[in-house]
Assembly symmetry: C2
Homo-oligomer: 276 residues x 2
């Protein structure tokens, strides 16, 4: 979180997150619908791409959206005002590891694309647990850059994907966190943990996904670290030219692209002490 | 095919294929049900693991099962006799690139875990096309060893997976073929091609898949090339010890495993000349 957020707080990044949500919304939010009246905490809402989906997908919830970036929070407010003007959202600027809400004061927590940026995701999940009432749930969604593979294969493209993973690690995060959401939730003390892959596969017969995912989500995500990686001496402009050219081939006719997000749900047992 | 079949014709391999089919049958055969009376060609039936599913999943079809290995074909016959005794299967020993059947004499072709072993899969698909009547279909199923990722991560385990991919390439095949089934079918002249991933994800909350897939399918598949890779000097016994130990950690509580098969269907246009 904060200034180490690996993708950067740029307009391009804002658009990428928006495109991602619009393309992947059905995939990522499938199965997530909260009961009317439920008090839900949207942890690390960023620019609000998922927040809009939460309020439109679960009408009547009381949503509290938290982020550590004042600028992101302002963008999220504007987005919700524009796209879901009737939604009631309480906005909170703050660190998810130090939130002022009372124990057990939420029915559900929603944590999407947040843990990948944290140096201690398991500890964060433990810290968040106290906020959920007995019987309430937490939902995690994370990507895993190690799940990306494509045709035609290309070492030059892989070099760029590895660069993004390396930068995430240098910033204290884990770009390969998706594969371990189940063990993370279980080790943090949640019950009834279930995890499953949400796979995106795109080829020329699926032009919406080629454009919305391969190009505007994945390649855009890799592109978001280009300048930083060159400035840090991790990759050369020539490596970027070759790698992006090859990734774009996967979005052309005859190319294919595969990526997996992971989603997991855990529960606080009925009758548990909320501060666990 | 033939003696270069990378997994080897061993009892362990036969059991692996059986376990794979029993565990993955619902996943791989979902959506494949042929109309009663349809004449279906089971191309490269091997030891019959999928053949049993074809005759039980599509009652009343006329199935012709072909393989190039006499020994595999004998095992397939015995398996069908034991597991689907009422099924009518016509068995044929022969090379899928040189089959004696008339043009357009099949309604559907089913080709599962076969193309990965062929040096020219696109040419094979073109050759097979003439066998299908106008309006008939071909179904492909292939794995992709590049889709395997797991927790805890391990370079030692990856070294073994790469070994299997290398051996497959040395034998003229492509262990990473799953990602390109759609372009292969399209380039071979099939119409209305659709492809999709069939993802297996296993963690401790899914003990059936941990045992049936992670251990008895994937790790068994990697193990199947141990002796050959050591004999060829590609990997050392110590590398095998470390790599298999790490893969087994992915099957223990706290571990996770992900693998993707790809399935694709193509069609011969109505009114097309069957020999295209």
């Amino acid at each position: 979180m904060g200034t180490d957020y690996v993708h950067g707080y740029t307009a391009a990044e804002t658009r990428r997150l928006t495109d991602q949500a619009r393309t992947l919304a059905d995939l990522l939010h499938a199965g997530t619908q909260y009961e009317a009246g439920a008090r839900v905490l949207d942890v690390g809402c960023g620019v609000g791409a998922q927040t809009v989906r939460l309020v439109t997908g679960s009408p009547g919830i009381e949503l509290v959206s938290v982020d550590i970036s004042e600028d992101s929070l302002a963008q999220a407010k504007a987005r919700v005002a524009a796209e879901a003007p009737n939604a009631q959202v309480e906005w909170h600027l703050g660190d998810l590891l130090d939130l002022p809400f009372e124990d057990g004061s939420f029915d559900h927590l929603f944590v999407c694309f947040v843990l990948e940026h944290l140096p201690e995701p398991q500890q964060a999940l433990k810290t968040l647990r106290r906020l959920i009432r007995p019987g309430g749930t937490i939902t995690l969604i994370e990507g895993d850059y190690g799940s990306a593979f494509f045709h035609p294969r290309s070492d030059a493209a892989q070099v760029l994907i590895d660069c993004l993973t390396d930068l995430q690690a240098l910033a204290g995060g884990d770009a390969l966190i998706g594969r371990r959401v189940q063990p993370l939730l279980a080790a943090a003390g949640y019950a009834d943990v279930r995890a499953w892959p949400c796979t995106v596969y795109a080829d020329e017969t699926l032009p919406h996904l080629v454009d919305g995912f391969t190009r505007k989500t994945f390649i855009a995500m890799v592109e978001s670290v280009r300048e930083r990686s060159i400035a840090a001496g991790l990759r050369t402009p020539e490596q970027w030219r070759e790698g992006i050219r090859d990734l774009e081939r996967a979005a052309e006719p005859g190319g294919t692209f595969h990526y997996t997000f992971f989603k997991a749900v855990g529960r606080i047992p009925d009758g548990a002490e909320p501060c666990g």
